[in-house]
Symmetry: C2
Subunit: 352 residues, 2 copies
């Protein structure tokens, strides 16, 4: 149940590329700016996660952005990623201004090691940068057998509830959990109702925005994509204090706990200023079910839960599915048919 | 920024009672059904937390409910609460079918002890029961100097997105964090837009419900409080998959991780069946900032964050406030003027 507003690729312009060929092209392109093998691997893996599951906003279209940031010096293409173990259950990964993917995958890997011993691990990442889809890291931990939570803060584009200026980022919250015999339960949401890319797409299509998701320069809700100045938090005009609080939860765990940059202090992701590292923070939590219900009872309960979600009565046509079911369906289709990429990205990666 | 839809007390019917007198009356009433001193203390503390901060749905009005459940045997008035330390960062509290307040406060207390050593603590509670406001436990950890998260699952009243039957409970998510020199940042939300009590209040007032928060027997959104059969998850008719995913997060951490009762398997909270324990699970996470940014940098960043929230430009009249600001204002007013209680509760506690 990842954000459904994901595709900014218009059907007619799409180029379909097979997964392996796409990953190879991304790897090659990252290598041309001197990215270390570790960076090439982690950054490609994270973008391919998103492209495979249909979260195109965080997929391979970001290759060009990351390349430009490495060229500019904002992002270090060959970071010396280091780890400080601070206690039995906690650690801090210093990403050395490299791409966030490297730091976040390292945090999950380390989190799984620690949780295996301590039952739980909280791992923060500092001196990092944009890490793409939070779900990539939650999924990595779940594939290793752990309930895994990942979050980050990002630059200001979402107003507070009743606010009149951008304040929080679209600060994602992701959780994934192992399901016996199948792919993990996977939940990855932005704490705004829709992502920025969706607004830009509506603008390019000259189409009205949905109600209650965006605001004009004074903070009043608008459906005019040209009057748009900021997103509203999840919950819209009435219950947006919940979305704003959840965005705050992400900022507290990512930036306040780590002492890294607050949302409103970031140099914007898309900015002409490409030479200054942003010192972004992330937070990963890994939990070992073995130390709670025990593996067998956890698995039985998880299976019952997922089966109940899938068996729940549905309204009209739409299928009620467990978080992740929709993404895994997309992944199967894309594995078969290829991954759709937009024309600019196709050109940048040499497919057009 | 606790749920704003909290007051089911109509102004004209209100009885104002001073805090100390109210707490004493609650204590006495719990003692009459043989509740142990530990139960009296924890259950009173949790209800007074809610009543003090204006979350009346979880305040002292629940005294009668808890008394009836202890009389019926669903809830054990003299539980032998035990603890299993399962690893360096993890533990399980067995609440022995006592009130959830006892188990959850014990979990936070233990979580703080563990986090002081391990940097983080994940503590689950099993064989528990209704624990009231999740924020009470998050706050207790924050008052001890830790970032604290608390959640629970509860009985089915919220449909899945596009679903046609109640599935999840209103499963709350609460986070609190220390703020230097002031009361904690405190966020406590239901994963539905509004709580059940609000529907019942609208029904008694014969007033239309807000849009996009409730559904009829077929799962279609309705504003008719008499056609109401289930709540919609946060995000409403369009983005309800986010609220449903968050409710799932609560269920995963509380029930699946603990192997306790799933939302749709609970005997309803308000049911004639009062003799069978419900085996409810809760989850508490405690994080020590000392092991991440370090206390000084954490405090400086937290102060900057809270100041930025308060200084953020506002739309029209409403004040943008940091989570908790509104509750602390209510608490100050109620400390001065007394706590408003509804006529039934006033009678039950001997104030009318």
């Amino acid at each position: 149940m990842t954000d459904r507003d994901r595709s900014d690729v218009r059907e007619k312009d799409v180029v379909l590329v097979a997964e392996a060929a796409l990953a190879a092209a991304v790897r090659d392109r990252l290598a041309t700016v001197g990215a270390s093998p570790l960076v090439v691997e982690a950054t490609t893996r994270a973008m391919m996660h998103a492209s495979r599951l249909g979260v195109d906003s965080h997929g391979v279209r970001l290759t060009e952005h990351y390349v430009r940031m490495m060229e500019g010096g904002r992002v270090n293409p060959r970071p010396n990623v280091t780890v400080r173990r601070t206690a039995a259950g906690s650690a801090v990964v210093n990403c050395d201004d490299g791409p966030g993917h490297v730091g976040a995958y390292r945090a999950v890997e380390l989190g799984c090691e620690i949780a295996r011993e301590a039952g739980v691990a909280a791992v923060g990442v500092e001196h990092s940068s944009h890490f793409g889809a939070a779900g990539a890291y939650a999924l990595a931990g779940a594939e290793d057998g752990f309930i895994t939570f990942a979050t980050t803060n990002t630059d200001s584009v979402v107003t507070l509830h009743d606010g009149a200026a951008p304040f929080h980022g679209t600060n994602p919250i992701a959780l994934a959990a192992p399901v016996p015999g199948e792919r993990p339960w996977l939940f990855d949401m932005a704490t705004s109702s829709i992502p920025m890319n969706r607004v830009l797409l509506y603008r390019s299509l000259n189409k009205a925005l949905p109600e209650g998701v965006a605001a004009d320069e004074h903070g009043y809700a608008t459906i005019d994509p040209f009057a748009f100045r900021m997103l509203l938090p999840l919950g819209g005009t009435e219950y947006g204090y919940k979305g704003a609080g959840l965005a705050g939860l992400a900022t507290l765990l990512s930036a306040v706990l780590m002492g890294t940059t607050l949302d409103h202090d970031f140099i914007p992701m898309y900015s002409e200023e490409r030479s200054t590292p942003r010192n972004m923070g992330h937070f990963v939590l890994v939990i070992d079910p073995e130390r709670f219900a025990g593996r067998a009872l956890y698995e039985a309960t998880m299976s019952r839960y997922v089966a109940a979600v899938r068996a729940a009565p549905r309204r009209g046509d739409p299928e009620v599915m467990a978080p992740g079911d929709r993404e895994w369906k997309v992944a199967d289709a894309r594995a078969r048919d290829g991954i759709p990429i937009d024309p600019d990205t196709a050109r940048f990666l040499g497919f057009a």
